[in-house]
């Protein structure tokens, strides 16, 4: 049903060359606000409309595979094999990150330091109190209260949880062999809040609690965040520059299908829990015109969308990465085998 409607719309768009294009996409909720903002400005400038449905990353992958949308969007990149199997290509659009936040009386934002293994032990329920030796050892001079730690996590399946648990699994073998990394995991301890707001509300209401939220959410709500130790050994705070550093330093060239999690990057200023959100399109477009219009929109967004993204506290892709993506677009071909966008 949806397929026929979309088909009809695409058909209508193709029928008249001068008729404004109407594109549809679906997927991740995290970048939805910035995609909506871009779509609005794009329509004002070009007259082309774009309809993006924030149905979740899993839904986005399902929809693009079922051909019901012109592009899918996912916070969780697909591996190169999966992409090849489904005839898809992916590229990163904007960067986000995950920030540990807490409610600890007397502790300022960025004052408390946590490392990957400590974070893992807290979320496994091994470290139970804030004045535990493992926390005190990396926080000399910080008055840590003798308070039980309340762990807060997301209850809904989300890319935020995927990034966070992937980071824990990367840094702590116990986490990798225990709960593991996924959109939703079997949490050993803690309570689940629905969405970023749910987690933030529980953290605010519970003294001694720790949670994790998206960077934009932590920033806009001025939450007390923790400093993390990155691969270079430096303690970093979550800032737009730290996310950008992680993305810029990453080896996109050698990542087949742009499969890159940006976790624990080697750049000296990189924030360790960083991730990009991705767009999925078919490598063989059924219609050259539609394929062209989709890529034209994302090209326009790369060129003109940085300010809008930053205003919404997203971090734009670094320019060299954009250049790489533009080159990769040449692999997207129409029915005639020619690249749809140049």
């Amino acid at each position: 049903m949806l397929k026929t409607i979309v088909g009809a719309i695409c058909g209508a768009a193709m029928a008249g060359a001068s008729v404004a294009a109407s594109l549809s996409g679906a997927g991740a909720t995290f970048p939805a606000p910035v995609y909506a903002k871009w779509a609005e400005s794009y329509r004002a400038q070009t007259g082309n409309t774009l309809n993006y449905q924030a149905i979740g990353s899993g839904g986005g992958i399902k929809q693009i595979n079922a051909n019901t949308v012109d592009f899918g969007a996912s916070d969780k990149p697909l591996k190169a094999d999966d992409l090849a199997q489904s005839g898809l290509m992916q590229f990163p659009m904007v960067i986000g990150g995950v920030v540990p936040v807490m409610n600890l009386p007397g502790v300022r934002p960025g004052q408390l330091k946590v490392s990957g293994p400590v974070l893992s032990d807290i979320y496994r329920g091994v470290i139970k109190r804030w004045n535990a030796p493992a926390i005190a050892a990396i926080n000399p001079g910080v008055a840590l209260p003798n308070m039980p730690i309340t762990v807060v996590h997301r209850s809904d399946g989300s890319g935020t949880t995927f990034l966070f648990t992937s980071y824990l699994a990367l840094k702590a073998p116990h986490w990798a062999s225990g709960p593991g990394a996924s959109d939703s995991v079997n949490w050993p301890v803690g309570i689940g809040g629905k969405g970023n707001d749910g987690v933030a509300a529980f953290v605010k209401q519970t003294p001694g609690s720790i949670g994790y939220v998206e960077y934009a959410y932590a920033k806009q709500n001025r939450m007390t965040y923790a400093a993390l130790q990155n691969k270079a050994g430096r303690w970093v705070e979550p800032t737009a520059a730290a996310f950008s550093a992680a993305a810029a330093g990453a080896k996109w060239q050698s990542a087949p299908g742009f499969y890159l999690l940006l976790l624990d990057q080697a750049a000296p200023d990189a924030w360790p829990i960083t991730g990009a959100t991705f767009i999925l399109v078919h490598t063989k477009q059924a219609s050259s015109a539609t394929g062209h219009d989709v890529l034209a929109f994302f090209d326009w967004s790369y060129k003109n969308g940085n300010a809008a993204a930053e205003a919404l506290d997203y971090v734009p892709m670094p320019e060299p990465v954009k250049a790489l993506v533009r080159r990769a677009w040449l692999k997207i071909v129409g029915p005639d085998g020619k690249p749809v966008y140049r």
Partner: protein
């Protein structure tokens, strides 16, 4: 309904049936009614069958363990639904326990005691409560009620419970306003207006003669309510309660916000838990494969629980009638 009504409509019926127009119209009318009724049945059957087909992979993999297992692990693809099932039953039962006396009180007050001028105001307020979308209850519960409850009820109870006592077990948990009890209270507030409004309508169907004669015999208000009007409407009252219970069992959004969403078996009233509906709402978006199947199987379990509850209500209704 008086007897004159019945006879007049009966005679009109006869007149219509004798006219030739009625001959053609009646079979069509009957057919439409039959179609409406069977469409409902077919929908019910269709839902049941598709839930069963969708949930079959999970049911086949875990068998009976799906109902008794306490591990819900999307990473290792192990799904046991005991936590959500128990959470659903406990929250619905506690919600009913809280809201039933209040709903009864509201209904009796409105019908028996309330001054005419106040009746409209309270009646409208009850209807307004029923019209509030459940997500609003969820937000209010999370941002307003939960912190208040944590400060004024949970924290004092947890600190005052003697170590090792039953109270300590009952009130164990984190005093932050999320958990089984708060979810039950929010549910109670949500189902209250439905039950109160239905009970009020029921009590109003008690013929004034019956009630007046009881008063005439010198019965107190309490006696009239307990011994005359309540038995008179008992059948319908169970229906009203079931309506509330049905909503409590299936309520999703408000519960998801405040129950704490832990798949573990809840151990205390302040413990985080989950319900079938909240689990589905949380995970269905991003689920695929066996996880999606397990969630559909959860839906089937909820369907069956509701069915069993309704059947039990019917049986309970039948017994006092025989005695």
């Amino acid at each position: 309904m008086s007897t004159t009504d019945v006879s007049s409509s009966g005679s009109a019926d006869v007149a219509r049936r004798t006219s030739p127009r009625g001959k053609t119209f009646d079979p069509i009318f009957e057919g439409l009614c039959f179609a409406a009724a069977t469409a409902l049945l077919a929908t019910l059957g269709g839902v049941l069958i598709s839930l069963f087909i969708g949930g079959w992979p999970a049911l086949k993999t875990f068998g009976f363990g799906f109902l008794t297992g306490v591990t819900w692990d999307p990473v290792k693809d192990v799904y046991g639904a005991a936590g959500p099932i128990v959470g659903t039953l406990i929250t619905a039962a506690v919600a009913l326990l809280i809201s039933l006396p209040i709903a009864g009180g509201v209904a009796f007050f409105l019908v028996e005691l309330c001054p005419q001028s106040l009746r409209r105001t309270i009646g409208t307020a009850v209807e307004l409560l029923a019209g509030i979308p459940s997500i609003v209850y969820g937000m209010w519960g999370l941002f307003v009620f939960a912190p208040f409850f944590a400060r004024t009820v949970e924290a004092p109870l947890i600190t005052s419970a003697a170590p090792g006592s039953f109270a300590e077990k009952l009130f164990s948990g984190i005093p932050n306003g999320s958990g089984i009890l708060v979810a039950s209270i929010i549910l109670a507030i949500m189902i209250l207006p439905f039950m109160a409004a239905t009970l009020r309508e029921l009590l109003m169907t008690v013929p004034p003669q019956v009630r007046e004669s009881a008063y005439g015999l010198g019965a107190t208000t309490g006696e009239v309510v307990m011994k005359v009007t309540l038995p008179y409407v008992s059948r319908g009252a169970v229906g009203a309660v079931m309506l509330g219970l049905g909503r409590a069992l299936g309520e999703t959004m408000a519960v998801t916000f405040i129950i704490g969403n832990s798949h573990d078996f809840p151990h205390g009233l302040f413990d985080a838990g989950s319900t079938i509906a909240s689990t589905i709402a949380n995970e269905f978006n991003e689920a695929s494969g066996l996880q999606a199947s397990a969630l559909i199987a959860l839906g089937l379990v909820l369907f069956l629980i509701t069915f069993i509850v309704l059947t039990l209500a019917r049986l309970m209704l039948r017994q006092p009638a025989r005695a």
